[in-house]
């Protein structure tokens, strides 16, 4: 056993990075509205993301009502259905999940977990939120614009995205969508720079990279990826905006529309697809990596065991991040490509399953013989593992060209990606909110309502998406607002569709219980104290809860150990905080 710390006895080495000069708010406005405190910004980000997410939830209900009971609702025309579908997808992926994981959890957790007083550029951080809010507002405006929002599908493929046959294509819808995305990317870049630089430069003494909680690793890597991948969407959006507004032909081929030759010519829709998916595939992991990190911490804390294979977990996160940039064309098998390319992208897609599987094994091995507490956050974390494995396995099917080609346009794909990047990350969002709510508010969320919320959501999500796999295997196409009387659409498909719709409505209403719980517990929740889960990482060791502006009082904490010293043999408590200078180590029995 080598003591890797030459300075351990000579006291604490000086901090490498000088203390941040905090901005001290002077009025109510600068404290709570135009705040530069990362924690307030985090809550603003989360609130906005959840609010717009509710819109997307309602849109999914409307789509399900149409699919389950076609023809019953007059106002859901095919055009409206496409608009609901587009907005649902775009909001959920970008304005909810990306913003919530990076803007919400990133802002709240990074400074606290690495022992910083705030983000390194608080003013830029504040701007980031306000630009994000502007992007959301532009998106909301498109609902009320003449012609309504765009109905081009969340991938916005040209040429149809800007043609008159698509809802919003020749009205303001698509323009507002593109402008909103461009704003989102600008705002995100501001925030993203903050998250990355804070991890690089803001860590407190003793917090080496390899002592950071996996949550920080996940958010950090995802942010680096997002910074490099979002420009692809930016490029695609700007060029499409030019095509739509200035008549250029980047993406637009020569077209005859309603018997009229359009002025476009020579452009390449495939070029857009390359750009879009060069962003789109990393985006999957931009959402998944923070979820991976958070789940690792939830499992370790609530199983009272150190995370299994911490190093491997860190490496897996980084390797997944790197690999995710060379798999994008597996979304384009049906667009046609050289067989060697298909082979290449199928191979890389399957390779990425290796580090992902390592992570799953490590979660399970962390649980193995752990002192598992089935708290609400833990339930959500466990549900995530199951769901992620489920969605990941169908991903292995779809990663192969020969399997993907027949399945690509069926509900099977809808089931796959909802499982893997819809339900799974959202379960982590819930788990994380139940876990960190006590730190944010000082009160526990109500356990009974939490259990109800969990079971209805978990079982309900499977009731929705599991049958969808079968519906897809039968050959039911996705993107169709109505199935009609095709022979391959059996009666059981119609029954299942109705069943899925009922399940979706129930799951949706269960989320209202959760929202009620968030508000109710603010006032009536049990007092949490500083560290209700007896967790080791720094955010639970703040002198006051909720942590004030500046987080740490007079002195920033000093870190003596990694974040996973649970159930250390010979220790007085079953956890040792990261800033506890005591001598015990995990895995080492005192002599």
């Amino acid at each position: 056993m080598v003591d890797a710390t030459p300075h351990a006895e000579q006291g604490v080495p000086p901090a490498e990075v000088p203390e941040l000069e905090l901005y001290h708010p002077k009025s109510w406005w600068t404290t709570y509205v135009f705040s530069q405190d990362a924690k307030v910004i985090a809550i603003q980000y989360s609130g906005t993301a959840i609010a717009i997410g509710l819109v997307a939830l309602v849109l999914s209900w409307l789509m399900r009502l149409q699919l389950g009971f076609p023809g019953t609702f007059d106002f859901i025309t095919p055009e409206a259905y496409y608009q609901f579908m587009t907005m649902h997808g775009m909001i959920m992926v970008i304005y909810l999940l990306t913003a919530l994981f990076l803007g919400g959890f990133g802002n709240y957790l990074i400074p606290l977990m690495v022992g910083a007083r705030d983000m390194v550029f608080p003013y830029v951080n504040m701007l980031s939120y306000w630009i994000y809010l502007l992007a959301v507002l532009v998106l909301v405006v498109s609902f009320f614009a003449p012609g309504g929002p765009t109905g081009a599908g969340w991938t916005l493929y040209p040429p149809q995205a800007i043609l008159s046959g698509t809802p919003g294509g020749q009205s303001a819808g698509i323009i507002l969508m593109l402008v909103s995305l461009i704003l989102f990317i600008i705002g995100f870049t501001m925030g993203g720079l903050n998250y990355v630089v804070t991890v690089i430069q803001g860590r407190t003494r003793g917090m080496t990279l390899m002592r950071m909680p996996l949550t920080v690793w996940g958010i950090f890597t995802a942010t680096v990826m997002a910074l490099l991948a979002f420009p692809a969407l930016f490029v695609a959006c700007v060029m499409m905006l030019f095509d739509r507004l200035l008549g250029t032909s980047f993406f637009m081929p020569a077209l005859v529309e309603m018997g009229q030759q359009l002025s476009y010519g020579g452009g390449s829709p495939i070029l857009f697809q390359h750009l879009f998916w060069f962003f789109g595939h990393p985006e999957v992991y931009i959402v998944a990596l923070p979820a991976f990190g958070i789940v690792s911490d939830l499992i370790s804390t609530h199983a009272r065991k150190n995370i299994f294979g911490y190093r491997m977990m860190v490496w897996a996160i980084v390797i997944i991040g790197a690999l995710s940039f060379i798999v994008w064309a597996h979304h384009m098998y049906v667009s046609g490509m050289h067989p060697w390319f298909g082979f290449f992208f199928a191979t890389t897609t399957l390779i990425i399953a290796v580090p992902t599987a390592i992570k799953v094994y490590n979660w399970v091995l962390t649980l193995w013989r752990g002192d598992i507490h089935l708290t609400v956050p833990m339930l959500f974390a466990l549900a995530f593992i199951v769901t992620f494995v489920n969605g990941g396995l169908t991903g292995l099917f779809l990663g192969n060209v020969v399997v993907d080609v027949p399945l690509s346009d069926t509900m099977f794909v809808v089931a796959h990606f909802h499982m893997v990047m819809g339900v799974a990350p959202i379960l982590v969002v819930f788990g994380a909110l139940y876990h960190w709510y006590p730190k944010i508010t000082g009160r526990m969320l109500n356990e009974g309502m939490g259990q109800f919320h969990f079971w209805v959501t978990f079982i309900g999500a499977y009731a929705i998406f599991f049958p969808m796999h079968y519906v897809g295997l039968v050959g039911v196409p996705r993107r169709y607002p109505e199935l009609g009387d095709a022979a391959f659409v059996t009666d059981s498909v119609h029954t299942l569709n109705a069943f899925i719709t009922v399940a979706a409505l129930i799951v949706g209403f269960a989320q209202m219980v959760f929202l009620f719980n968030l508000l109710w517990s603010l006032r009536y929740g049990r007092e949490a104290g500083g560290n209700p889960w007896r967790a080791t990482s720094l955010e639970w060791q703040t002198p006051t809860t909720p942590p004030p502006h500046g987080n740490w009082g007079d002195e920033r904490p000093v870190v003596y150990r990694w974040a996973y010293d649970y159930s250390v043999p010979g220790a007085q408590q079953d956890f040792i905080a990261q800033n506890d200078p005591g001598p015990q180590r995990a895995g080492v029995r005192p002599a």
Binding site: M210, L227, T248, Y310, R585
Partner: protein
């Protein structure tokens, strides 16, 4: 998409190099005590703002690499008809090089604490940059006067789009340069912050010069020749 992949390979190489200096092989579960957050081998003195600018430039680099990738892919299509290269671009390139040189002089002057020289160099750099932007507008005018409008051909569209995007980034840089200049002309003694500000400006200008040279090669149509030569060398 080869340009962006090469660019990302460089970024990934740098990231892994950086990570490799952070004791990724250590076994944190066996460690106890206070480490320095950054190992001795690291450039611990690097100011936060500089690191942030470096990362931002990686984002900007990714953006232009993607634009170039799109350019190359769109070039393959039959309707591609590159516009003639306006001669004024040569002048513009020289002027932007001069701006970069001036800012580099400002860096040296600021390091040596010569305030007059710093001011002069900053002013010269700013002026040259404005001249560059004006020159770009002249190039646009020249093209459109010759009937090469934006929507005539995708090659024209790319010309306006790429130069415009580059110009916008220069404009953003000028805002930063303006703030540094205000610092240089203010009465207060802010030598250290001024030095950092000048450093950052120079870094940004050098990078945008590098981007411009890349775009120039692209727009002049030499990129295709370069690729052809590379292919010949490889086969």
């Amino acid at each position: 998409m080869s340009v962006i992949l090469v660019f990302l390979l460089v970024v990934a190489g740098f990231s892994f190099w950086w990570l490799s200096r952070h004791r990724l092989m250590s076994k944190p579960w066996l460690e106890h005590g206070v480490h320095t957050a950054l190992p001795e081998t690291d450039v611990a003195g690097m100011p936060t703002a500089k690191i942030a600018l470096g990362i931002f430039l990686a984002v900007v680099g990714s953006l232009f690499a993607l634009f170039s990738s799109a350019y190359f892919m769109r070039m393959e299509y039959a309707d591609w008809q590159a516009p003639p290269l306006p001669n004024v671009l040569w002048v513009n390139t020289v002027v932007l090089v001069l701006a970069s040189v001036a800012l580099q002089c400002a860096v040296h002057a600021a390091r040596e604490g010569r305030l007059d020289m710093t001011r002069l160099a900053l002013a010269a750099g700013g002026l040259a940059t404005f001249v560059f932007l004006a020159g770009q507008l002249v190039a646009w005018q020249e093209l459109s006067a010759g009937g090469h409008f934006m929507n005539v051909n995708a090659a024209n569209s790319f010309f306006y789009l790429l130069t415009g995007m580059h110009g916008l980034h220069i404009l953003g840089g000028l805002v930063g340069l303006g703030r540094v200049a205000a610092m240089a002309w203010s009465e207060e003694q802010v030598t250290e912050r001024l030095g950092l500000g000048v450093d950052l400006c120079a870094m940004y200008w050098h990078f945008l010069l590098f981007v411009w040279l890349g775009l120039f090669v692209l727009l002049a149509g030499w990129a295709g020749d370069l690729i052809a030569i590379c292919r010949q060398l490889l086969t």
